[in-house]
Point group: C2
Chain length 206, copies 2
């Protein structure tokens, strides 16, 4: 019994250590990818940057592609935590949309990742490369655009804004946010205000 308990404790500690190592590696991985793209990731570079052993990182992630996919998921989770979750306290419609845009602006202006928006940085790298990484990036973009469209539809249904093609407007808002991310990286001082003005154009009262 005592032996069993000790084995269980050791297993717990190992799992905990594995999870911590995983988070340390992925934090660094998304920073690298936001600057140099997902192709810039390698077990050797991550070992050098984090001080962890290359063999240990390799054991955790096995292949470069598995590491890249884990980085995409990690970046998505942090985006959701920074932008989507905090907006959930607002009611559906215009209020939630404005909250999403404001949280996105903080995310892009003082970026979670060194190179700014993770999706903008990596989508251009993978848009011509079919495979699981492109699929994962595209899935995250589609979910985000659908979220914007859902709130636009809620706003129109509640009579807060004029009737509009919500999918078309959501596509435009996402396109403007991506372009704004680039403008922010380039130090354009008008980038944030311009994006707000464009979004407000879609939110004009009915």
């Amino acid at each position: 019994m005592e032996g069993d308990q000790r084995t269980a404790e050791i297993t717990d500690k190992r799992l905990l250590r594995g999870a911590r190592t995983r988070a340390t590696v992925l934090r660094q991985a998304v920073d690298i990818a936001s600057l140099d793209g997902l192709e810039g990731l390698s077990f050797g570079r991550l070992a050098a940057d984090t001080g962890l052993s290359k063999a240990g990182i390799q054991t955790l992630f096995r292949t470069k592609e598995a590491l890249q996919l884990a980085a995409v998921d990690y970046a998505r989770d942090r985006f959701v935590a920074a932008v989507v979750e905090p907006a959930r306290s607002e009611p559906h419609g215009v209020a939630r949309l404005r909250a999403l845009i404001e949280h996105w602006m903080v995310y892009a202006e003082t970026p979670l990742f060194t190179g700014g928006c993770f999706r903008v940085a990596t989508m251009a790298e993978y848009d011509s490369k079919p495979g699981p990484i492109r699929d994962a990036l595209f899935r995250d973009q589609r979910d985000w655009v659908r979220l914007l469209a859902r709130e636009l539809r809620a706003a129109a249904a509640a009579g807060e804004i004029a009737e509009l093609d919500a999918d078309l407007a959501a596509f435009q808002i996402d396109a403007v946010l991506c372009a704004t991310n680039t403008a922010l990286r380039l130090g354009d001082p008008e980038a944030a205000d311009r994006a707000r003005r464009i979004v407000e154009g879609f939110l004009a009262p009915a």
Copy 2:
């Protein structure tokens, strides 16, 4: 005299051969960059891809950065020849704008470069990296957005469309075209029509 003439001929041939080699290398360089980014360029890879000698290519371009900048200029020139020049036969305003968008659509649907729009592919790579390459990419984007804004202003001045903030609209149209390039790479069958519908929204009669 005869000797001078022969020297001149040899010089001409050398210059011609240099120019041809340069074009061969740059054609390949923009294809590589549109897929793998400008960082993906190397003298060795270009030599392997074109069958030219690595030393010869290195003599022509000297440094990797000079090669990258030459690739940016080459891509810009081909964009101007494919999109901007053919639209010049249309009068300023709505007609020229529609022509620019249609030529852009051909450029993006059956791309000049393997990886699609060169600027979208490379801007995300360089937006967080200050230096001459980012400056060159940003200059080309600014020129293109200014061109769109000029035609929107001409359209409004001629009463073809309602008064609008031309710079804001041009920023939005460019953002939509960049997002459309990504959607085309992902094989989205609605990408082109959606972009046309969005642009027409800015061209509604006064």
